[in-house]
Amino acid sequence: MRRLWAVCRKELLCTFASPVFYIVAAVNLILFGVFFYVIVSASREAHLRYVFHNISVVLLFTSPMLTMRLFAEERKLGTFELLMTSPLTLLELVLGKLLGAALTFAILLALTVDFPILLLSFGRPDWGPLLTGYLGLFLMGLAFLAAGMFASSLTDNQVVAVVIGFGIALLLFIISWFSPQVGGPVGDFLEGMSISGRFENFARGVLDTGDVIFCLSLTGIFTFLTVRSLDWRRW
């Protein structure tokens, strides 16, 4: 446990010492602010449902940028050798890194706290959908982060990691588009695998355990795949 925390703390120290996070955060917050202003001023409704939708699309790009360095950079710098010759299990390493990325992402989301505050000062928003919306963004982002971490474990090139991470996230996002073509039980399955469909529920204010478990399962699967890929690449 101590080693897991050590990895997580190191990730946070490195993240906040490098300009990448600040640039990603600044660009994201500007975009989110534009969504908020345009949507809320046009609809004159005190909710964030459509703002959340737009943010969810931006997260397809943002998540792999937050995870691209996780393993690719360690490989490139040679620090991976330090990690792999320490009494640290792969699972501790991978979970420590995911936790670091998740906390970074949580901080990014927390910086949009002005949206609900603004709604609250000018209207009477319903708290439920606001909270489930944020929860949905976090859980969907978590799954994307795990996918991005997996992508980073495959390469020592951060650009390649972003491209693969984005590809996986987008595929998860649009997988239901295939379901009308395929039809039948497979079509239903693809519909169920769609993370954007799950997110829609959160954004509407519906909190379904199935959706929570779905996001956490995806996170678990990509965490497992990361461990496997790191293990496999040593041989």
Partner: protein, 317 residues
């Protein structure tokens, strides 16, 4: 005789079809300071990576402190302190943050962390840069920070891959002194492609060439075998042909090759029999003939040439 610190038997390491290490067997006892000597590309780094468990062996067994690197990798890692060839530091962290991270990974007891960090920084001379960001440090300091990381948990076995490469001469001396100090109560294995470095620090040398062990020797024996494996370079103000013939006639000289020289001077590479230093004879000759000596020095043989000598493969190929 108990189990050795390192026991390697029939080790083979392949990358695809490339054989990096072949049929390597050796043993290192507790308290020994062993040098792994070989030219670049000989397999030194691969050897160390296998010892630390970073790379699994293709065949053969490798035991460190009685633990098989494949079956009990975590146990092996607890025993070792490792400085890889590329110093594994994070440019964004301060020295203190980095060492704290290493201490956590190595599970240094929390109550001892501050002490151990202070000691490691003291030993490696990094205390004065403790609060600086590693990315802003010179190469020499980074190397020392890497070494501090390897020492932090007071490991029983210290594995250092080319610890002095890229340092300036005074730093090299410091690191050598430090390694010798460290070696007093632990096992050290270090790699180098510089013979003199290994002979100054180590008690025993394993010579490795093209993935095979070609020599197992104490430092004294190795030096005896390689003695005279040096050439002499001389530059004198003298007529070229006359000087060439006179030097060639000196006892013990086996070959003289003219080298490029300025007008009016003559320069030669002189090779001599094993165990003979012709520098005295050359200077006496020059004195007798009234040739001013502009330069006279021994030239280290390249390691590659030395290995040819060691493996006896010199003549034909």
């Amino acid at each position: 005789m108990g189990p050795g610190m390192i026991e390697v038997e029939g080790l083979r390491k392949q990358f695809g079809t490339t054989v990096a290490l072949n049929d390597v067997s050796f043993r290192v006892d507790r308290g020994e300071v062993v040098g792994l000597l070989g030219p670049n590309g000989a397999g030194k780094t691969t050897m160390m990576r296998v010892l630390t468990g970073y790379l699994p062996p293709t065949a053969g067994t490798v035991r460190v402190g009685g633990h098989d690197v494949r079956e009990e990798p975590i146990e092996v890692r607890r025993l070792i302190g490792y400085l890889p060839e590329t110093v594994p530091v994070y440019a964004e962290l301060t020295v203190r943050e980095y060492l704290q991270f290493a201490a956590d990974l190595r599970e240094v007891p929390k109550a001892e962390v501050a002490d151990r960090m202070a000691r490691a920084m003291g030993q490696t001379g990094t205390a004065e840069v403790a609060h600086r960001v590693i990315g802003h440090l010179s190469k020499g300091y980074r190397q020392r920070v890497g070494l501090a990381q390897a020492l932090l948990h007071d490991p029983a076995l210290l594995i250092l891959d080319e610890p002095t490469v890229g340092l300036d001469p005074s730093q090299v001396v410091e690191i050598r002194t430090l390694v010798r100090e460290l070696a007093t109560h632990r096992t050290v294995i270090l790699s180098s492609h510089i013979l003199s470095e290994v002979s100054q620090i180590c008690t025993r040398v394993i010579v490795i060439h093209r993935g095979r062990i070609v020599g197992h020797d104490t430092v004294a024996d190795l030096e005896k075998r390689l003695k005279g494996a040096e050439r002499v370079f001389v530059q004198v103000r003298a007529p070229g042909v006359e000087a060439l013939e006179a030097i060639r006639a000196l006892p013990g000289v086996t070959a003289v090759t003219p080298a490029e020289a300025q007008e009016g001077t003559a320069a030669f590479q002189i090779e001599c029999e094993l165990g003979r230093d012709v520098r005295e004879d050359v200077s006496r000759l020059a004195l007798d003939r009234h040739w001013p000596i502009l330069d006279l020095r021994s030239v280290a043989m390249s390691l590659e040439e030395m290995f040819l000598k060691l493996t006896g493969a010199g003549g034909g190929s």
